[in-house]
């Protein structure tokens, strides 16, 4: 049923209010046609009697009380899906922008998705080798995991994401694909990703959703949902292993804040809406593996921490939902270490079940623990050295400082195209531990020490 409606009764930010609407539906799509013939898309976000509040994705510039005709579409926001979407480029609302025409849909799905029944989930256990030592050894990526990169402006998160894509997925067979969603990133960043995918010869397996920094802001709220709907379709209907890259989540959250404040909602911390956690969860929780389906959805969201502050609501809430995080560090970055991963706050919650004998190597878990413990001591020694000077440190502390330097130089640091196998990575770890006396290795079982220490 298509209902047409003339005029608006209120305009506020990205929201318009329609009055006298017959039978609207919560979250129904509407299209607003201006007198000059241009069409905008919107969504009903609240209803009171015959009044409906509509969120206009393209913004309300140029709208007036009288110059629009509104058509209710009678259905919520849907995404057209078929295997043809591979290799295509869409805008932030899932409309093709690559001049290859409309997608002929085999299926249409509500972009909001539905929560996965925890009973139907398969607990993720398969290790993905990224070839990056600090990730493989210390924050292992697992298929079906959501592992965000916490970065700051100007750091090399894009390069890191591309390296993960290149080294992780491409080793795989035909069954993998990439879904890339850009939210409020600059055109050249999107271009960097596109050309990197092309260089790696995977463009035909990439679906891109682009909402660039000059695109309508409210559209950003839909962009990741379109991308994840596409990812779920490819994974669970077509049985592919999907790597989803969402960048930049900070822009997404800011769009949400803008929308929330124009709706007049009571703000939570730093003006972000009180439901930011629940909202982010509806995105991140769409990663996973199902028991009865072949594919998987692995997410790597990228977010830039405002002012490098990890306690800012966006990284904070993200960390509470995702299964760990990879944290980039400004200090390492300025030292020229790539990837500038600060391993101490970085974490992979799923790693404990996906490593060890049968997955990677028996010593992996103990070694990782020991490296963490030793590197944590490096920080203590550094703090002490900054007060009393490096020369005054005790012998043990000097040793640990030396270990720290080597660890950053040989373990964390690696080339942008260097692809280390997990064995190589673990061996480097043991080599570094060999700098320290055996008595310092309090996290490792005697048997493993015998087998690997100073070998």
């Amino acid at each position: 049923m298509v209902v047409e409606h003339r005029g608006l009764s209120e305009i506020n930010g990205s929201l318009v209010v329609l009055e006298g609407i017959k039978n609207p539906m919560n979250e129904e799509m509407v299209s607003l046609e201006l007198e000059d013939g241009t069409v905008r898309t919107g969504r009903i976000v609240a209803i009171e009697g015959d009044k409906a509040v509509v969120q206009v994705f393209e913004g309300t510039r140029g709208l007036s009380m009288v110059n629009t005709r509104t058509i209710l579409k009678g259905k919520p926001m849907e995404m057209k899906l078929s295997e043809e979407i591979l290799g295509r480029v869409f805008d932030g609302l899932g409309r093709p922008i690559d001049d290859l025409g409309e997608v002929f849909p085999k299926e249409r799905k509500n972009v909001n998705g539905e929560p996965i029944n925890p009973v139907s989930r398969e607990y993720p256990k398969n290790f993905i080798q990224t070839g990056i030592s600090s990730i493989d050894c210390l924050t292992t990526l697992i298929r079906g995991q959501k592992l965000p990169i916490f970065s700051g402006s100007g750091m090399k998160h894009n390069e890191l994401a591309v390296q993960i894509v290149r080294q992780a997925s491409i080793a795989d067979d035909d069954d993998f694909a990439i879904v890339f969603a850009a939210m409020g990133v600059k055109n050249d960043v999107a271009e960097y990703f596109r050309s990197s995918f092309e260089d790696a010869n995977v463009m035909s397996r990439v679906v891109m959703f682009l909402n660039l920094s000059n695109d309508p802001i409210i559209e950003r709220i839909i962009t990741p949902r379109c991308a994840l709907t596409a990812a779920e379709y490819l994974a669970y209907t077509l049985g592919k292993h999907i790597l989803v890259i969402l960048t930049d989540m900070t822009s997404y959250c800011e769009a949400l804040r803008e929308f929330s404040s124009s709706k007049g909602e009571i703000p939570g911390r730093k003006g972000y809406p009180g439901y930011l956690y629940s909202d982010l969860a509806t995105l991140y929780e769409r990663a996973g593996i199902l028991k009865n389906a072949k594919g998987s959805v692995t997410q790597i969201p990228i977010l830039t921490m405002p002012n490098d502050d990890i306690t800012h609501p966006i990284p904070d809430l993200t960390g509470y939902i995702t299964e760990g995080q990879v944290v980039l560090d400004r200090g390492l970055d300025t030292k020229g270490i790539y990837p500038p991963i600060n391993v101490l706050p970085s974490l992979s919650r799923l790693m404990k079940d996906g490593i060890g004998a049968g997955y990677t190597r028996e010593d992996h878990s103990a070694l990782a623990n020991q490296l963490f413990a030793c590197y944590a001591k490096v920080q203590d020694a550094k703090a002490l050295a900054s007060v009393i000077g490096e020369d005054e440190l005790s012998g043990d502390d000097k040793l640990i400082m030396a270990f720290g330097k080597e660890f950053e130089k040989y373990f964390v640091n690696q080339g942008e195209t260097e692809n280390r196998s997990i064995e190589e990575t673990l061996d480097i770890g043991w080599k570094l531990l060999s700098m320290l006396p055996e008595s310092q290795l309090d996290r490792i079982d005697g048997k493993l020490i015998e087998k690997y220490y100073k070998k």
């Binding site: 209803i47 929560p115 939570g268 956690y277």
Partner: protein
């Protein structure tokens, strides 16, 4: 009378009805033509507000809202254990059968398996007088747990007819009760109870028994009593969920209710698989036999998240009423508080601290007050212990949820980021944590573990405290300049931290440690300390003692001494004596 009510407005999970309605406050309602479950949360002269426990996409004004005539209730009966429910007690495996891997909307499935036959032993006969909470039948629910079927606490009267013991389904009538007014009530295997009302008990008892968890830092330093309430606050990645899982696996409660409230889906899957693989050491049965999971993950509807905590505690109280010791793990209460905030915001209520509603503290205290060691209506003793995780925003413990939780719990296990970064697990910070239950439990430890247990515990605490003040100095000038006796304190504190407090959940011998081993480990470490103190007082430098390797050995006794060979700890004490005797002689 339940009249026809029509949806007027929709805002996220909140739906309003215009006009006067006959709905009552907190009544459960079915919203819309797809019959979504909701609850009445506000009634004004011209407007009734309903929160909906399912996604409201696609709802239209004009669709009906139908009252159910009762408050949001849970069904209590055999078949709850080893099951997994969502926040309003819908069994997730059944939902999966109906709608597949993704949870659909408006599905109505029976809470308990209505077809399953239970072997019921009827315990009453015609003419028996029963009062509320008394047991009239029982059945073996799982190999571990005998399910006692009790009269609803609101009923009492005389049994007028009764069936023989045998196989029955949950809804079969096995007896009839006539109350004082002569009304007949049919007694089946199950009953209903509104989730927001605590189940009545006859008396609260003092808490004098610890919940033994096998985790050294908990049992020894900060024990929680059976019937107590504990909070685990910690930023992300500090191991809240890991600690909760460890407690759920190893604590000596009879029944575990694990509420995943607004947390990750994969974590619930993990709990589900891990608990079914783990074998309870006492009974050789999988842990699922004594566990109920309530999973309302972060992407499931927010209103149901608010209800999940109450659903969980009601189930725990029900098993308590049978005379069991139950423990409920709520992970995380912050998500529940956020659900309150979200709904409060939609209702346009005046916010208090950080946007949380002003009634946050009273809701929290109501919840934690449902813990306790009770004399239940049937005369037995049972307890509900609450262990609530708190996820403070930005790891800042001064935020409202943490602060208010602190007021209503008497045991506080503060998780620490720095410890977690160094992979020191459990990352419970010994300087910020406390337990007010220690005093009440002293007698128990004295009688059941060892007379010296509490004395050793206090000494360990004071060493750790002394270390933390010494560390202030070390941070400024380095450890080298300290006198030898203080160096010894730092060294022994390291042994305590790494060798005793740190516990490896993935190590076969270390994941669960009996109280006896905990005691003997303390004894061994303190024995070493006292010997060394003597030697140091004879002017022997600490570095000499360290070079004997005794400290490193003490750090590793947790791995080196298997749980069934505790005598090795005694031999460590002897070894200490013999290694150090030469120094004592030389010095003397």
């Amino acid at each position: 009378m339940v009249g026809e009510n029509i949806i007027y407005g929709i805002n996220g999970p909140v739906v309003t009805i215009k006009g006067r309605t006959s709905l009552s406050m907190m009544e459960m309602v079915y919203v819309g033509s797809s019959r979504l479950v909701g609850e009445v949360i506000g009634i004004e002269a011209e407007k009734t507000t309903v929160q909906v426990y399912e996604d409201t996409v696609g709802l239209r004004p004009g669709e009906p809202v139908v009252g159910s005539g009762s408050q949001l209730c849970v069904t209590l009966g055999p078949g709850i254990l080893s099951n997994i429910f969502d926040g309003i007690e819908r069994p997730l495996p059944k939902l999966e059968e109906k709608t597949g891997a993704f949870i659909g909307k408006g599905i109505n499935v029976p809470v308990l398996d209505e077809e399953k036959l239970w072997d019921v032993e009827v315990l009453v006969k015609v003419g028996d007088e029963l009062s509320g909470g008394e047991i009239y039948a029982e059945t073996q629910e799982t190999a571990l747990i005998k399910h006692k079927i009790m009269l609803s606490p609101l009923l009492s009267g005389k049994i007028v007819s009764v069936k023989q013991s045998g196989s029955y389904k949950v809804n079969d009538e096995i007896a009839t009760l006539e109350d004082k007014k002569g009304r007949l009530h049919s007694l089946t295997l199950c009953q209903k109870w509104p989730i927001r009302i605590p189940r009545p008990v006859s008396k609260r008892l003092p808490m004098a028994k610890p919940l033994v968890t096998g985790q050294r830092i908990v049992d020894t330093l900060f024990p929680v009593a059976k019937g107590g309430a504990a909070a685990i606050p910690g930023g992300f990645g500090t191991g809240k969920t890991m600690t909760q899982h460890q407690l759920a696996k190893w604590c000596d409660a009879d029944i575990i209710v694990y509420v995943g409230c607004g947390e990750r889906g994969n974590e619930m899957t993990q709990a589900l698989t891990e608990f079914s693989e783990l074998i309870d050491p006492k009974s050789q049965r999988p842990l699922t036999d004594r566990t109920v999971l309530i999973a309302n993950t972060s992407n499931m509807p927010v209103a149901a998240r608010e209800a999940s905590i109450y659903t969980g505690i009601t189930l725990a109280e029900y098993y308590r009423d049978m005379g069991y010791h139950t423990a409920i793990m709520a992970d995380s209460t912050s998500r529940w508080a956020e659900a309150l905030r979200e709904i409060s915001g939609r209702l346009e209520e005046m916010p208090a601290d950080e946007g949380f509603p002003a009634y946050l503290p009273s809701r929290l205290s109501e919840f934690y007050e449902r813990a306790g060691y009770m004399n239940v209506l049937s005369g037995a003793e049972g307890s509900v212990t609450i262990i609530g995780a708190v996820s403070p925003q930005g790891s800042d413990f001064s935020e409202p949820v943490t602060q208010n939780t602190k007021r209503f719990t008497r045991c506080f296990w503060a998780l620490d980021k720095a410890l977690a970064y160094a992979r020191h697990y459990p990352a419970i910070n010994w300087n910020n944590s406390y337990s007010e239950y220690v005093k009440g439990l002293e007698a128990w430890y004295h009688d059941n573990v060892h007379a010296d247990f509490i004395r050793y515990r206090e000494e360990i605490c004071s060493i750790l405290f002394e270390e933390s003040s010494l560390m202030e100095i070390v941070k400024l000038i380095g450890a080298d300049v300290l006198p030898d006796d203080q160096k010894l304190t730092i060294e022994i504190a390291r042994v305590i931290r790494v060798g005793f407090l740190q516990q490896n959940a993935f190590h076969k011998e270390d994941t669960y440690v009996s109280l006896e081993k905990q005691f003997k480990m303390m004894k061994a470490i303190l024995h070493l300390y006292h010997k060394c103190q003597k030697i140091v007082s004879l002017q022997v430098p600490v570095s000499k003692i360290i070079s004997t390797g005794l400290f490193d050995k003490a750090v590793k006794i947790k791995y080196d001494v298997p749980n069934d060979k505790l005598e090795l700890l005694d031999s460590f004490v002897e070894e200490t004596d013999s290694v150090l005797s030469s120094y004592l002689r030389k010095g003397g």
